[in-house]
Symmetry: C2
């Protein structure tokens, strides 16, 4: 019953895409809607043509390559990920999911398998969000989470408009950027981007959902003063207040939940001079947990810590809630398809919640969705050093292919 | 015996200089060696010419206007400060000391007083250090603390060389930038730049010395990781380690000395992204105290806190000691001249140690030096909001004039 993907071809296909926008450091510089992204898209279109698939490009550049099923009216199974990269990302993030979806269809052809449902391979536009905000933009537009006209107007650091770049590379398609029909399921393979699978010795991740997150930007406003002439009791030091909160945020997960993570990733100081007491400090907070109530409790505690720190230092504060993503629980059917495929293939599949957002976040609002995670060595991600061994690419792609076939239904 | 300076003329002279490089916010934008600085120097030269003084400009642009004494071979008394300003500084910082020195000489003329010793009014080049490092540069070159050729090569943010700018504005003088002869004393009036005088209700500050300082730059090197997928126990968060040190530095003075101040004024985070665990954090520490042993103990404790924080977070660290200035104790003779002038004039003069460096720091290595401080409202400094009332300008300038006359000796 199982299908076996061609391991050598999987590696070749991975290497083909890795050559497009490849960096000297062995990673990828393939920002969305760049020339390198255009070349990767052309390569995807060639792959689709080589398999005899129909290619649709929607008005936001999302690419869908369709293999018909025995019942052309059945709801299709969508499989894929993204080909864009971080400024200096690795060759696996996103690309592995697209390549595995291509290899899934090639394997169906190898075996001469007809599926009950149509299968579509998708390459989403701008998952990374590092050139144009936000991340997961193409799937978000497609799923109706964002207004396409607003997203068109987004500009990059050089002032280039997204829609102009989409036109320029020739990937503003004719299809509306929305689900053309109801979909049966969406499956996505992605590197874990964390150390959990490697630490637990598992082969693949059976992703049961995606954590919710709360982002905020906190500003402390104190008083700039000379560091030599201003006595300690006279100071309103915005950085001291911020340091209190950084420490509190570090402690927060320990009293919230087993899977809570909380981070201050960005912090800037003004005037930022060795001999001036800091006047203004802005920093971000990022709290994630699979449970919504835990998230809300985390935000409350963060705000209490901000207020307490401001009071101690005599500075003013402001908390702006910049992003809120609800946690996603994947439904049983596709999750069990992944779990069964892993078990059938003899792999140690570990159930886990994704700590990062993925295109699957948006797809989950359209159809039944699940994910497969591959092992990320040392948990490294968004760096040229990102690494998933060919063995782990093969095992996770095999799980994806068999789970997708299960969902698509095999015509015997 | 006392001389009384002309209060209205003092205000006029202050307003004359304040019009050169004046900002809409009522402050000064008169960076060293800028066109505005050149104009202020021309104005200083005009003042000197108006008083019939000989003007010397040395090779570093320091300006000396000399009024001969009865004994031309006697060691002169040097009085002055600086006319350059911070990018957006107030109209008092530096300028008040130069104006008060000019008004001292004018008052000698008003009274027809001949002094025993020559009197020189000095305008030092680049006290602020905000365009070219370091601060107190001109007096430092003059006193032999810096090599003039090295300082000539310093560049500003636009890449302009200091020596080229000095030539451009026509103030690279012919005289060697060094004391032409032994000096008897140096006196400088400067705004306090802190809240001590106002808080204690004093009229003027009798400055008995300048605190020593120790600057360091600390780097924590952790590991950048995804803020969603990296469990808390897996992180090497450079910002969390830095926050521990910021908090410790805030506590440091409380266990060191009554007059210790300690500051983290500058801190930068890399990659500085909301969803990436901070990899590299660089920050400065600034510890000041009048006592050298206390300073050394402060630096030791700072280093111990850095090591402990690095150990807790599992990050690497480096401490670079970027500046060390020994504390200065002013000798009795000029300090008592200031104290007696204040008492004679009926002012409440408070003895205090300066928390900021001044040109007097370097002058103290050449001759007997002391300072007078004027009240700084709310302790504000290095901002357009810096304020010293005309009443406080008058009282402090009167103390300066009478102390300087005492040191110069009056020929009856």
């Amino acid at each position: 019953m199982r299908i076996d993907i061609d391991r050598d071809r999987l590696v070749e296909t991975m290497e083909e895409q890795a050559a497009i926008g490849g960096t000297e450091g062995g990673g990828l510089h393939r920002l969305t809607l760049s020339d390198a992204d255009a070349e990767a898209r052309d390569w995807f279109a060639d792959c689709a043509a080589g398999m005899g698939l129909d290619l649709r490009v929607d008005a936001f550049g999302n690419m869908f390559a369709r293999r018909e099923g025995a019942d052309p009216d059945a709801e299709p199974v969508l499989v894929g990920s993204h080909l864009d990269s971080q400024p200096y990302g690795g060759i696996f993030d996103g690309a592995l999911g697209v390549v595995a979806a291509i290899e899934f269809v090639r394997t169906l052809d190898d075996y001469g398998i007809e599926t009950e449902r149509p299968v579509e391979v998708v390459n989403w536009t701008n998952e990374e969000g590092s050139r144009f905000p936000p991340a997961m933009q193409g799937s978000g537009v497609w799923a109706g989470a964002h207004d396409i006209e607003a997203e068109y107007e987004k500009t990059d650091a050089d002032g280039a408009r997204l829609v102009d770049e989409l036109e320029r590379i020739g990937y503003r398609g004719a299809d509306p950027a929305e689900p053309r029909e109801p979909y049966h399921a969406y499956l996505e393979l992605h590197p874990e981007q964390g150390p959990f699978l490697e630490e637990t010795g598992a082969d693949v991740g059976i992703v049961t959902g995606i954590v919710g997150l709360r982002w905020a930007e906190v500003t402390f406003e104190g008083q700039a003063n000379h560091s030599g002439t201003t006595p300690m009791h006279y100071r309103d030091d915005a950085l001291v207040a911020a340091a209190d909160v950084v420490t509190a945020i570090r402690r927060l997960p320990g009293s919230l939940g087993e899977r809570t993570v909380a981070t201050v990733g960005s912090l800037t100081v003004e005037p930022n001079s060795v001999n001036i007491v800091p006047e203004t400090v802005r920093f971000t907070t990022d709290i994630r947990d699979p449970d919504e109530a835990t998230l809300d409790r985390g935000v409350e505690r963060m705000e209490a810590e901000v207020a307490a720190a401001a009071d101690r230092e005599g500075v003013d504060y402001e908390v702006e809630h910049t992003m809120r993503a609800a946690s996603v629980d994947f439904p049983d059917r596709p999750v069990e398809a992944v779990a069964e495929a892993a078990a059938d293939l003899g792999y140690d599949g570990r159930r886990m919640v994704s700590g990062a957002g993925h295109d699957a976040t948006h797809a989950a609002s359209v159809c039944e969705t699940a994910m497969v995670f591959s092992v990320s060595e040392d948990g490294k991600s968004h760096t040229e050093d990102e690494f998933t061994s060919w063995a782990d690419c093969y095992s996770s792609a095999s799980v994806l292919a068999n789970a997708a076939l299960d969902l698509a239904g095999r015509v015997d």
